[in-house]
Amino acid sequence: MKAPIDEALVRKLRAGESIILSGSIITGRDAAHKRMTELILSGKPLPFSIKGEVIYYVGPSPAPPGRPIGAAGPTTSYRMDAYAPLLMEHGLRGMIGKGRRSEEVKQAMIRWGAVYFAAVGGTGALISKCIKEATILAWEELGPEAVRRLVVEDLPLIVATDSRGGDLYLTGPEEYRK
């Protein structure tokens, strides 16, 4: 799969499918989400576009000399739940993180056509090797929380929650509960 992604592709994805993502994505976590939301709500433009973008919830460790980025695994997504529906309304197509999402987020994904991918948490070294370029797009002063553009190659992901309400965080554990 190649990022950015469009609605037609998003609508085809089903929870439980494994995909390999290459292309261009953006990053953002707690502080960046707060700022994006404040700008949108006050009618101001964002310093970067989120239309059609996939956002990766990550706060990487510093890049050592000679590498584009340090360890870069996903952070826990529920902390972005309060902000995610508004971003989807403004064109965000995909999210990458870990852990289940709220009902409001899932409803917004159905309404606006967005998908949520799970990356394997705690594999920051492995994922770091899939990131070929990293450039800061905005809010450098936020350090690990700054918004970056990443060029990724063969990033392995699992479709956790799809645009039809399918949620592997519910159906997966149900299957193995005894």
Binding site: S61, A71, T75, T76, G122, G124, A125, L126, G143, Y169
Partner: protein, 279 residues
């Protein structure tokens, strides 16, 4: 009496920060490999495989295992016959953390709890000192990520809740945490003492090497029972379903007051990192 220079303490803490964040213990890797062999879920096995592969890359390329290189929790055992020269011991430990996180390219995640202004160097560390007999001086550094720390809880039970109430609370805490703390997790439990003692017992329980039994037979049985209940929840690797939800449950106890059963559950992600040294 033994004299230790605080400069040596700083150098040791610096090394431990870098080591703990990039090298996963053999006990953890062995347990992960064992679980990969028994996991029934195909995505679950794939996730365990990636976690093991991640540890291999982190160690060989000196990349942190996880971008959340944590808040540095430092346990220090200080023999009562030990004297420190050249400065303040606690300052020396904080300085070691500052240097380790800087030189190891580790993430600086520590900030003021209200203003949210980052201290910029991952200090201060959280330091727990313990006075022990003799000339021993041991430093254990356990970087704690907050995906799992946020899922931890302390509960003060009335005695009427009994051990059954405590067990249900522990299992329920894991169930409610789902995939958030990056399962397979290690569950540290502290039962007894006071509010803060229970939390410290739970934190210390995370330091016990995986695969080593509890030295108390009754607690060993309790740990096995809790692990079995937790692994029946179906949460699985990263919460996407499977049999491997926890790698281990470790329980520490301490006498408490007639009016209470304090219970702390400290959740640790699969990146169960710690490193230690004796000077």
């Amino acid at each position: 009496m033994k004299t230790i220079s605080v400069e040596d303490v700083t150098a040791a803490v610096r090394r431990l920060c870098m080591q703990a964040c990039t090298v996963l213990g053999d006990d953890v890797i062995q347990k992960l490999e064992q679980c990969r062999g028994t996991e029934e879920s195909a995505p679950g096995r794939e996730i365990l495989e990636r976690i093991i592969e991640n540890a291999r890359i982190a160690k060989s390329e000196m990349i942190p295992l996880c971008q959340d290189t944590g808040m540095a929790v430092v346990f220090v055992e200080i023999g009562q016959e030990v004297h420190f020269s050249g400065g303040d011991l606690l300052d020396a430990i904080h300085e070691g953390v500052r240097q380790g996180y800087r030189d190891g390219h580790l993430r600086k995640s520590v900030l003021h709890p209200i203003t949210r202004v980052n201290t910029g160097d991952n200090t201060p560390a959280v330091i727990h000192t313990e006075i022990v007999p003799g000339e021993k001086f041991k430093i254990t550094l356990a970087p704690k990520g907050f995906g799992s720390e946020n899922m931890s809880r302390v509960m003060m039970f009335p005695p009427s809740a009994g051990i059954e109430g405590v067990k249900d609370f522990i299992v329920q805490r894991v169930e409610e945490s789902g995939g958030n703390p990056c399962p397979p997790i290690v569950v540290g439990v502290g039962i007894g003492g006071t509010f803060e003692k229970a939390a410290l017992l739970a934190k210390k329980a995370l330091l016990r090497p995986l695969g080593t039994p509890n030295s108390d037979d009754a607690l060993d049985a309790l740990e096995k029972e809790l692990l079995e209940r937790i692994n029946r929840l179906g949460i699985g690797p990263m919460g996407l379903g499977g049999r491997t939800t926890a790698l281990a449950v470790h329980v520490n106890v301490y006498p408490t007051h007639i009016a209470s059963i304090p219970c702390a559950v400290n959740i640790q992600c699969h990146s169960c990192r710690h490193a230690e040294v004796e000077l």
